[in-house]
Amino acid sequence: MTDKPHDLTLDFGDDDDVVLPSDPTFDAWIAREATSLNAPPTAPRLEMWKAIEAAQKTLADASAERVSGVHPLKRIRWFVPAAIAAALLLGIGIDRYTLRLGRPDDRAAAHTLVAAAPSDPSKLYRLAAVQTLSQAEALLTAYRAGGRAGESVAATQQLGVWGREVLSSTRLLMDSPAGDDPQLRTLLHDLELVLAQIIRLSGSPVDTTDRQLIDRAMRDHDLLPRIQTAVPAGVAGTASDD
């Protein structure tokens, strides 16, 4: 592993291979003009450092499972994402082995792996989808309740930690065969966007504009009703709507 930038895909334009002539006079002029573009104000150093410290503490607390008070499922919500991830990875492993069945040496290994898994891999993905959406429903309900009750910075931090877990499961689902279902994929994509926004609230005082944007996104995409429709009644972990 090196110190290379991670997960950055650069867009240099569709005509990247076209050579364009240069003009030194213009180049010098635009370089002078550029210094006044988006001239930065003084950095709010102390304010940013406090937010960074708070985020670091949240991460440390999350690692030690010291978070509390966000939702009664605080223990379960740490276990379920790991279980979902394991289920999805097992399912992906099954798929990869079945693709290699043409080679004699793989058949024995494939049989062993398949025998250890549910007879119908699609059940695995459906279970993972239900569990992920249940967690998402609980989180979104807690988010809405926090707004009505007057939300503290600590509460947004805890929502952020929870949101990262659910977002991770959501993305695993999108990359799994479960994501091939167009309706589910659209729901997961809409959920991903809202979760990312909620995570961004973490550690900072909740800005009214930020909350309005998230509320609008949830409302415009009919997110909670769609999730509740997708999750069968009585599934463990489902929070009651308010």
Partner: protein
């Protein structure tokens, strides 16, 4: 590129101090985290603001950069300077966030369209100012990042290349391309630079 034998004594001392700070930070020393933050925050904030043009977003992205850097500092292998590594995280975080917002605004009303519009200094011709800002905003994101990092923020091609994970040749080529595109977009104002 600087080597140990070509460094001035002062710069070598600064680098050695930075390495010592990084090693302390890798051992979990909170005061080392703070010292590294104080040493680099201005440059990172300036960079994120240059690219986004928004104070609040630049602040959030700067915070994200440092949180990620400190969370992953144990894996930092010191192949580059710490500041260069921070730059790479900042650019990655910033461009990915802009991409996400662009995707989101394509689905909703264009609330964030002004996000990447650069703002020029208020003392220049307002029409020219607006057109320069629009032309820069219209550049492809990678090209715009190179242009802002070099011409607006004064980073070298070596620094830009290290931050973006490209060669210095690519950085130079993209700067040249960006400037050429801007020249075409601003052609009606040619007398401004041909005086």
């Amino acid at each position: 590129m600087e080597t140990e034998t070509t460094l001035t004594l002062e710069r070598a001392t600064v680098l050695a101090d930075q390495r010592a700070l990084v090693e302390r930070a890798q051992c979990g020393d909170a005061s080392a985290h703070r010292a590294l933050y104080e040493a680099h925050v201005d440059r990172i904030y300036r960079l994120t603001f240059r690219i986004t043009g928004r104070e609040e977003l630049a602040r959030e992205l700067t915070q994200d950069t440092f949180v990620r850097a400190f969370a992953g500092i144990a894996a930092f292998r010191k192949e580059s300077a710490f500041g260069t590594w921070l730059h790479s995280i900042a650019v990655s975080v910033t461009l990915n966030e802009l991409k996400r917002r662009k995707r989101q605004s394509a689905r909703e009303a264009p609330l964030e369209d002004a996000l990447t519009i650069a703002r020029a200094a208020p003392d220049s011709d307002p029409v020219l100012r607006e057109r320069v800002a629009e032309a820069v905003a219209a550049l492809p994101a990678g090209c715009r990042a190179v242009f802002m990092m070099h011409d607006a923020e004064g980073l070298t091609h070596e620094e830009i290349a290290a931050a973006l994970g490209v060669t210095t040749g690519t950085s130079k080529a993209q700067l040249s391309r960006g400037r050429a595109k801007l020249r075409v977009a601003l052609a009606e104002f040619a007398e401004e630079w041909n005086r």
